[in-house]
Amino acid sequence: MKKVLMGNHAASWGARLSKVKMIAAYPITPQTHIVEELSEMCGDGSLDAKFLKVESEHSAMASVISSQSTGVRSFTATSANGLALMHELLHWAAGARLPIVMVNVNRALAPGWNIWVDQGDSLSQRDTGWVQLYVEDNQEVLDSVIQGYRIAEQVNLPVMICYDAFILSHTYEPVDIPDQDLVDKWLPGYQPEHYLNPEKPSAFNGLVMPDNYMEIRYKLHMAHERAKSVTNEVGQSFGETFGRYYGAVEAVECDDAEMVIAISSSATSPARLVIRELRDKGMKIGLLKMRMFRPFPTEEVRAVLKGKSKAVVIDRNCSWGKGGIFADEIKGAISNQEDMPAIYSYITGLGGRSITPDLIHEIVTEVESGEPPAELSVWKGLKQ
């Protein structure tokens, strides 16, 4: 069934089709529609789930940690300051190896108060142990929530699906809502190996002495390593069933490219337009869509960038005092490797400023000019 859906309702549909059993959430712009729609679905019986209203995002995460611990597929959604308030419990969810799926609508953190897109909210949760996917359009929002549960439940890690405030959250566009029967076959009910069960009492998350702690953390890290190939397998399997293929990254026209633009989330779409236009003019340019951020798709990035002369990384985020975060991660991934491109790091589009095809053209022209990369990330579109 194809419908014109806003990004937020695509997320609600993803949760509904995944037959989540428990939703706990606290509203925050620009996420509110997601849980509003889910509460209506719970109210009218189209989704058989418990909807728990809580008094804060911290409690929302605590609640889904609890419900997921009892072996129940759980969902929540948040944004910006709400995600920041969850911080302590994000570590807990990952450390407890709970396959929760959460949607985070990327929004700037205050102050100054700004409800528009900036990826800094979720990128600053990098080391909490969550798998993070950054998605491009409303169809991918819906598809990624469903895939999120397959990934999460295979590796026992929580998964965060991130997309841009307003540009996707409040934008209506056609979305194919898959048949429930098909989703049920592809994503069967959650079968936890261990869970809080009065029939079979066990204790979780107790004190761990130094002689065991490192091994537990190593397992968490190795689960992330596994999550890379699992994400690719899940994206492939999803494509075989639903006709839309996904992976940790997507490379467009990269095989013979001399320059590659690496970009994430909704800004990938205008970059696709730019690539097409420049290809038509004979320029050898490609696109690397960075869908997965944690675990970092090191091997995929290396494979795409090997032999290229220049890579432009466009970041809608900044690690204060360092620069564009994807750029920095990509530099890390290609260090100690031979035959890798120079990395040009650009920061733009913060706080909801548009990333237009013209802006991307300007960046490409600048990089093409022959200058070596600047020492620091270049802020593009700054007012004088």
């Binding site: 779409s269 548009s354 990333i355």
Partner: protein
């Protein structure tokens, strides 16, 4: 690709008008993208909504700065907003007004459609007489002037989207479709 900008005031339903048009266009096989100006809406304050349509998937993700057509839900906005900003020459300006195209001599580069959507909405008891809900009527006027979408598709989209009074809303669109005064030749 065709781009449309809708000017209204918070509470008039500009965003829903844009969505109704999108749903109608999608039902006729177009790819659509409909979104509000990325801002904070306040009742009565000027708001904008955007609509893009194309044969293929739309990849542009920024606000519309050079629309092909504009729709104005409240004529008093023309006193406070540069509504024609970026509007392409020869594009339609569809205005909710009891006036007629000759009343807008400043718009000589454009085609003008005038419809008293407030009266039509009030006649169908949509909203109140002082604050009528004009967004469904204006969709009918839009269909007639631009010929981008059929009135039947608009009415079906309204029936799908209207939270209350679906038939009255659909009838308002039909009435506006019939009643709009069109000045199809730019006077310049």
């Amino acid at each position: 690709m065709i781009e449309i900008r809708i000017h209204g005031r918070g509470g008039q339903g500009s965003v829903i008008a844009s969505k109704i048009m999108a749903v109608a266009l999608f039902s006729e096989g177009k790819w659509v993208q409909s979104f509000p100006k990325f801002g904070v809406e306040r009742r009565g304050a000027p708001v904008e909504a955007f609509l893009r349509l194309d044969q293929d998937k739309i990849l542009i993700r920024s606000e519309i700065e050079a629309p092909d057509h504009i729709v104005i839900l409240d004529a008093t906005l023309m006193e406070v907003t540069d509504v024609t900003s970026g509007l392409k020459k020869g594009g339609w300006i569809i205005i909710n007004t009891h006036g007629s195209p000759e009343d807008f001599p400043d718009f000589k580069d454009f085609k003008i459609g005038c419809v008293d959507a407030s009266r039509i909405a009030a006649d169908h008891r949509l909203g109140s007489r002082s604050a009528p809900i004009v967004n469904t009527a204006i969709c009918g006027a839009f269909a007639r002037a631009t010929e981008l979408v059929g009135i039947d598709s608009i009415c079906n989209a309204i029936r799908e989207e209207a939270p209350i009074k679906p038939e009255e809303n659909a009838q308002a669109a039909k009435d506006a479709f019939e009643a709009i005064h069109l000045a199809e030749t730019p006077s310049n």
